[in-house]
Symmetry: none
Subunit: 193 residues, 4 copies
Amino acid sequence: MSSDKPPRGSIGAIRNPESDAAIMAAARDLLAEKGYGAFTMSEVARRAHASKPTLYRRWDNKAALIFDLCMSDRTDRLRIAEQGNVAADLSAQIAALWRFWREAPTGTALRAIIAEAQSDDVALQRVRDMIAPGMPEHARLLIEAGIARGDLPADFDTNTALRLIVAFNWLHLLTGQIGDETPIAPAVRMLLR
Amino acid sequence: MSSDKPPRGSIGAIRNPESDAAIMAAARDLLAEKGYGAFTMSEVARRAHASKPTLYRRWDNKAALIFDLCMSDRTDRLRIAEQGNVAADLSAQIAALWRFWREAPTGTALRAIIAEAQSDDVALQRVRDMIAPGMPEHARLLIEAGIARGDLPADFDTNTALRLIVAFNWLHLLTGQIGDETPIAPAVRMLLR
Amino acid sequence: MSSDKPPRGSIGAIRNPESDAAIMAAARDLLAEKGYGAFTMSEVARRAHASKPTLYRRWDNKAALIFDLCMSDRTDRLRIAEQGNVAADLSAQIAALWRFWREAPTGTALRAIIAEAQSDDVALQRVRDMIAPGMPEHARLLIEAGIARGDLPADFDTNTALRLIVAFNWLHLLTGQIGDETPIAPAVRMLLR
Amino acid sequence: MSSDKPPRGSIGAIRNPESDAAIMAAARDLLAEKGYGAFTMSEVARRAHASKPTLYRRWDNKAALIFDLCMSDRTDRLRIAEQGNVAADLSAQIAALWRFWREAPTGTALRAIIAEAQSDDVALQRVRDMIAPGMPEHARLLIEAGIARGDLPADFDTNTALRLIVAFNWLHLLTGQIGDETPIAPAVRMLLR
DNA sequence: ACATAACCGAGACGGTACGTCCGGTCTTGAA
DNA sequence: TTCAAGACCGGACGTACCGTCTCGGTTATGT
């Protein structure tokens, strides 16, 4: 899964894009297999058949790499079959996100980057940018569709709702409680009235 | 602030209770002054004029100490002058909590323990216990008073609301955004209808 | 050769003298087996069942360790059976030194430390101290005995002779030519008249 | 001093002879300015507006470049006004050599190549060749003139004397003590009787 | 009165990750 | 075919922190 035996080597004076991919893949695998506690730059380098300087040429530090890992594979499996019911759709989407976090290592990566941000100001800023107003776009689109449809009042406070949704997701992620999806529906119901 | 100059020394075959306090104080100060990134067991020991074994005799590891720090000074300044308006009271209480987190190092400690919990299962369990159903008791009392008063419907989903409040607080804490209290009121309004 | 399996561990708040010995032994072995090019602090640590911080607690850097290695086992096998002939005795002594340098890793260590001194001012100063006036004491004693005996004139310039002897030894050491002892006698003859 | 701003670029299928000179000049300057510790192939390339492959196309490795540096500018300023007194002439010549080593970076280069030779067999062989019998030619000529003149006995052991002179020079060079010329005269006196 | 036992501060220890540095090789695209 | 530029691997460097361990000493308790 993480082995193209011969090291890639340089392809000239520009960075080898293969390396980026190999490193990211190795990092993803490592995070998935061993978790954040065993996530080591040296081990990532070893698995990617890369060298530590190559890693640090591309990412300032461990936190930056994990952040990229976080960002790299979002917005994929989060497409849901919308049914025109805001509450149901939003619940389904959150459940899909939780499922995604459980299956891909993205959930673990996000936990890691949030942890890292508690002692690294640069990482903190990046995390802040992740939750800018209107930010979980998928959710915003659902809500806006609901408003357009008239299911939600025209003056619905979308940004506040979105922020509460993010907060709700993070809380469950950070406490390792994204396995049980039953809390989702009541929360969504409360937010939408 | 962290100096009772003469080292305490032993008081015999039982543990010196002064040490606990001195260590906690040193830990609190260190966290307040330098933040979680510079929070080191060795430095805590040095400041407390204690030794590392003394620390580890009382706390299993760094996470346990930080957790204790978190728990030690809660539920103090969170008394607010209730006015009988659930939304206003709840907002005031959340604002008071944020203020408390800003002023005391408790906020930093909570951030630290959440970070620690991302790679330490024992810490994770402790964090989970912190947010058990009905858990921010102060808030629960306010909501229950509102239900009793009739301001909130009898079937109001208190636990879900509480969880959303916790999530909302954590999100702002973990992203270093507890300085601006304006998001509080809209969020509370959304939760209470 | 370098294995007392159980790691030594700390003996309290003072440094474990066993560690010093174990590290020095490991360093000596490594230098003898693999040479200066493969002499690595990590490898020394590994062989000594010590940790890198333990090495660096005792020696500022690689150069300091090698220097100690140099100094640790001098003036041992250099006792020769004096015959009362200054030239013969001095030649024998130099030959004994070359033999010592060949057999013990001290020769390699000295080569290493001289090399290191070319890019490390602290090491340079240490090397300078090694060759302070009157410094190869064994040789000085032989010459002084010769003066006392009347074999050498009373105004014999001992320090200059000593310095030339050191220079001669170094030249052959640094060029890997301490195996052939034939150049010794003519040189000594020239120095003593 | 090390800047011909426009990079030279290729002149086609043959090697650009300008590069050799530019690289040597850059290397010389770097060695003179920052010393051996900061002497880096990358830095030489940067200063010479050359690339590392260009360096390695012409020199096998760092040691080879430094060696060339050593050899490139010898036997220039070492002409002295001979006075027909072997001791005086030899002393003057050694002093001139030391001055040369101090002023040109050749002294530093020689220190560097000797250091390099301690962990590189090829460099070691080159260094050995530098001190082949009869090798510091300037000094040999002076001594041979002295013999011819009758100042030195016909059976004077020139090679041994030369070797001791080289050794003496190296010792002072390697210990950074070529600034004080007072030790020269006594040493020469001892070697010539 | 004295021995015991648990405490204490100090700090060294093994282990291991971090992020940096340099030597020598490789590839591109231009000349 | 050469060139400049610069990315690449490999691996050593020296630092930091965690949690453990031992020392030498102090103090309350048990005899």
